[in-house]
């Protein structure tokens, strides 16, 4: 198995979900498709690789414990349900009394290699730390929405369902959040030049 996310079309996803009551193996491709997104979103929200792994395990354990009660209601329903669980687990984590504000670089998660050279691993982690710092400067709501959009890969409608918001509210936060993020990022880039 490699780390390239397995892409599932909406029809394939629907077929797997409907097979699951009779065939537990149908969950495996769903897991392989959603694991990278759940991990990426979680890692951006909590920052630490160890915490992201722990929370990701918690999330998927809750998923399989609850999967019998899931009702398929159309495209995007599973993603919405999955990320609602993810969102709630992370919210619980944030209520922890033992949050750290600064995460050492070696505790940050690895970044997908893409077309980067191996010796850029350190630079990639630094970039992650910078982007995450910029993200943390936003309001909690905008952090959630941008993370769900960019790292969990959800559409606005799905984000609205996860967070129990109006879709227009999601779109507004996304638009303003990106603007704020860009300005923060560009200020930081200028300061380091």
């Amino acid at each position: 198995m490699n780390n390239v996310p397995q892409y599932l079309s909406p029809d394939e996803e629907r077929a797997l979900i409907l097979q699951m009551p009779e065939n537990p193996e149908a969950f495996r491709p769903l897991y392989q498709h959603y694991f990278p997104r759940v991990f990426a979103y979680t890692a951006y929200r909590v920052g630490s690789r160890q915490e992201a792994e722990d929370l990701t395990a918690t999330i998927f354990m809750k998923v399989i414990q609850s999967i019998g009660g899931f009702e398929y209601r159309g495209d995007g329903a599973f993603a919405t349900w999955l990320f609602r669980i993810t969102h709630n687990v992370i919210q619980q984590h944030y209520r922890s009394l033992y949050r750290r504000e600064v995460i050492p670089l070696d505790e940050l998660p690895e970044i997908e290699s893409g077309d980067f050279l191996p010796d850029e691993a350190f630079a990639r982690k630094e970039r992650f730390a910078q982007l995450r710092q910029a993200l943390m400067a936003l309001s909690p709501r905008r952090q959630e929405i941008i993370s769900l959009r960019f790292f969990a890969g959800l559409r606005n409608q799905e984000i609205a369902a996860v967070l129990a918001l109006d879709e227009r509210t999601v779109a507004s936060h996304l638009s303003r959040g990106l603007e704020d993020l860009k300005q923060h990022y560009q200020r930081e880039e200028t300061a380091h030049e």
Partner: protein
């Protein structure tokens, strides 16, 4: 995804460089961790399937009614799971203390809100409970907290007295939205507050998806018009009388004010009008001025203001200042079905589900979309509206 098609970051403008960073700085998990977790999950699923559980697991679980099912996973992960569960229930974000003798507690029997100094059991929500929901046993649970944990719960903000007896919650109605794992207090129960049920309240009937605004009555501004009429709103803009917004609902008329109701983007223009202080006039809207919405697919080609990757998939956000909202009265087709956001005086229209046909030389973009949307998009481009490309992450992640 073909890595050779990824753009050279140096060719991108400053805004795109940032979005490129955001898209391509995706954390990845350790491969062994991912595989190990997969094995554990599949083993658990097969075990569940083999034992043919009598009761289906559900997202709605009650801590007091079900025995926790232990799963053999890595010790650090198990500890984190327990920790996440326990610390979550000590959440204090949404509760407030009330001082002793507060009127809010007057309807609650003292026994129900006593908390012993040695710690206590408190009732929490085990799922999100929307306001107006009658609370059932399946929606709540009872947890035990030490006195230290209770003190911690009360120390962050001013919390209420928590309910300790679940039977006092079952059958009650949630007066407000109650979140998962939120402790339930007495002042969260009861009928949801309805301002229009108050005596003398003025609550005109507003259609679903419409938003209302009250405007002061200007002399002669509403002559001959009545509540429930569809009207156009005129005002002086740049020294000329213009139709600022068309086809809104005159929901209510009184001696001092009128209530207009409209879809969100028109409502934003009305807000701008109110804030501008300009006088206005209303006229009856004539149905002949409405344009039909043709949703048959067409291809539309435009020049992007910035270079885009060849296989880029995106949503378009087109922004127009609310002060120029009057220009939208000449839109070729209705835009009411387009998602809209209105941050700080901007009218942002979200064109989603765009099918990108081709991107040539980075800026010549051909998309497929409904004819009405394409015509409106062309009109907005000619207004030199602000254009934002929001990447469609799900499609851009396809191999």
């Amino acid at each position: 995804m073909n890595e050779n098609q990824r753009p050279d970051e140096s060719t991108l403008g400053p805004d795109d460089a940032f979005v490129y960073q955001l898209e391509h700085t995706r954390p990845k998990a350790d491969r062994k961790f991912q595989q190990d977790l997969e094995h554990q999950l599949m083993a658990q699923l097969h075990t569940l399937s083999t034992h043919k559980r009598k009761e289906k697991p559900s997202m709605q679980y009650s801590i007091t009614s079900r025995r926790t099912r232990f799963v053999r996973i890595a010790p650090v992960t198990w500890a984190a799971t327990l920790t996440a569960l326990m610390v979550g229930i000590i959440s204090v974000a949404l509760v407030l203390f009330r001082p002793e003798g507060s009127a809010f507690l007057s309807n609650v029997p003292p026994m129900a809100v006593q908390v012993e100094n040695e710690g206590a059991s408190i009732v929490i929500a085990t799922q999100n409970i929307p306001a107006g929901t009658v609370i059932t046993e399946a929606m709540i649970g009872v947890i035990s907290l030490s006195s230290a944990d209770l003190d911690e719960l009360r120390s962050v903000e001013t919390p209420p007295e928590f309910i300790t007896d679940a039977s006092l919650v079952i059958g009650e109605t949630a007066a407000f939205n109650i979140e998962w794992f939120q402790p339930i207090a007495a002042d969260q129960l009861g009928e949801p507050f309805d301002p229009c049920a108050q005596e003398g309240a003025a609550c005109p009937e507003i259609p679903e998806d419409y938003f209302a605004i009250n405007l002061p009555v200007a002399l002669g501004a509403i002559e001959g018009l009545n509540a429930t009429d569809r009207v156009d709103v005129l005002a002086a803009v740049d020294g000329q009388i213009r139709v600022v917004v068309e086809d809104v609902l005159l929901a209510d008329v009184s001696a001092e004010r009128i209530t207009l109701a409209a879809p969100s983007w028109k409502h934003s223009i009305l807000i701008w009008l109110y804030q501008s202080g300009e006088s206005y006039a209303l006229r009856l809207h004539t149905p002949e001025s409405e344009a039909e919405v043709d949703l048959s697919p067409v291809e539309f080609t435009f020049t992007a203001p910035q270079e885009l990757p060849e296989d880029y998939q995106f949503d378009l956000v087109i922004g127009v200042p609310a002060s120029l909202g009057y220009t939208l009265t000449n839109l070729p087709a209705s835009i009411d079905h387009i998602d809209f956001t209105g941050p700080e005086g901007m009218l942002n229209f979200w064109f989603e589900d765009i099918e990108v046909v081709s991107i040539v030389d980075g800026v010549n973009v051909t998309v497929r979309m409904p004819r009405a949307d394409a015509e409106n998009l062309e009109y907005l481009f000619n207004l030199e509206a602000q254009i934002q490309f929001i990447p469609d992450q799900a499609l851009n992640s396809q191999p």
